[in-house]
Symmetry: C2
Subunit: 199 residues, 2 copies
DNA sequence: GTCTATAAGAGGATAGAC
DNA sequence: GTCTATCCTCTTATAGAC
């Protein structure tokens, strides 16, 4: 099929997103120029504007896509009614999903402040939906008399912070396998919720 | 005492640090210009260079001061040999120290990547010293047969991430008191470590 | 779809007057 | 210690050729 010289829309678009992601994660949104992104992609700065209205759009797309992915992936899971099984499932899912997307996790936390107000509200809303997932698991576990914690909301925050923090230090090519990591965090969360016994 | 007109070194210095801190936390290091800092302080941009060699120095001073403060404060504490008491003490100390310094906590995590390599190493080293404190408490608790976790290092990361994450949502003027917060996290950490019973 | 050129301004940092 | 003025580079975004 005929195509104009220098036309690469199927490649350039994703490449711009990927490059922006890496650079934002490495240097921060404000520190990365459109020229820098373009140069890494191998095009001129002007060409980027065929794929995004502006720099803000680039950031929003990354964060929105990430949260959509996260929520969609969770809703594809088949989750047990048993609180302990559901908790284990959530821990494993959260670690799996986040460990293989360290850059997205990083900027989703880091660059929230660089979203314009409208975009910020959208992302915060999706984030709230995700927090509700674990909160509801905990709430059910408490009312079933299985989990022994007072406040499901605070406990949700504690678990999410603890799990997401793994991204800061865990390396897939290190001595600790992802399987062992998940086992360890599964035990920690179970114990945190007052459940004893092996995972 | 006589003083030149327009000379305010005792005020301007601290004011620059404080303003830089607030602006870095709010907008990010790269997004804040020396002109913006100066304008907030009420001086011209050139005047800032009487207090810092460059913008990097401003960031490093904030992060270094924070870590020094943290370590010094801990070493002023009188810590029990009893692992459970020491753990509770650490949880309370960490929450107290971090809750009243949200901006410093934020940039100490966020702006690490904007430190030049030498400065980065220095801060990371201090951070490692702090992590060792809780790691040693856990290690002792395990060998005393009181804490039931496998890996003290991973558990340290989990606890620090969980506690520091509080800064993202806790507000001193909210319905939850700092006392109740500390109680709650004290129970969560105890349970996480396999210790049962009330805090 | 990508390029070059350009508009219009903001950036860090310094020099020298006061 | 602070000011003004300045250097020189980099910034986002657009216009129009190809």
């Amino acid at each position: 099929m005929a195509r104009k010289t220098g036309s690469h829309s199927e490649i350039t678009g994703p490449k711009i997103k990927q490059t922006a992601l890496e650079l934002f994660a490495r240097y921060g949104f404000a520190a990365v120029s459109m020229r820098k992104i373009a140069s890494e992609v191998g095009v001129q700065a002007g060409a980027i504007y065929n794929y995004t209205p502006d720099k803000q759009g680039l950031l929003f797309d990354l964060l929105y896509g990430h949260m959509e992915d996260l929520l969609t992936s969770w809703h594809l899971q088949n989750v047990s009614q048993d609180p302990i099984a559901a908790l284990d499932h959530f821990v494993g899912f959260h670690l799996d999903f986040h460990i293989c997307r360290p850059d997205l996790v990083f900027i989703s936390y880091m660059e929230l402040r660089n979203l314009n107000p409208n975009n910020f509200i959208i992302i915060e809303d999706l984030r709230g939906n995700y927090e509700n997932i674990i909160c509801e698991i905990i709430t059910k576990g408490i009312s079933d008399g299985i989990f022994k914690v007072k406040d499901p909301k605070i406990t949700s925050f504690a678990i999410i912070a603890m799990l997401t923090g793994v991204v800061d230090w865990f390396r897939s090519d290190g001595v600790l396998t992802e399987y062992d990591l998940k086992q360890h965090y599964s035990i920690l969360t179970r114990q945190m919720l007052g459940v004893n016994g092996p995972a």
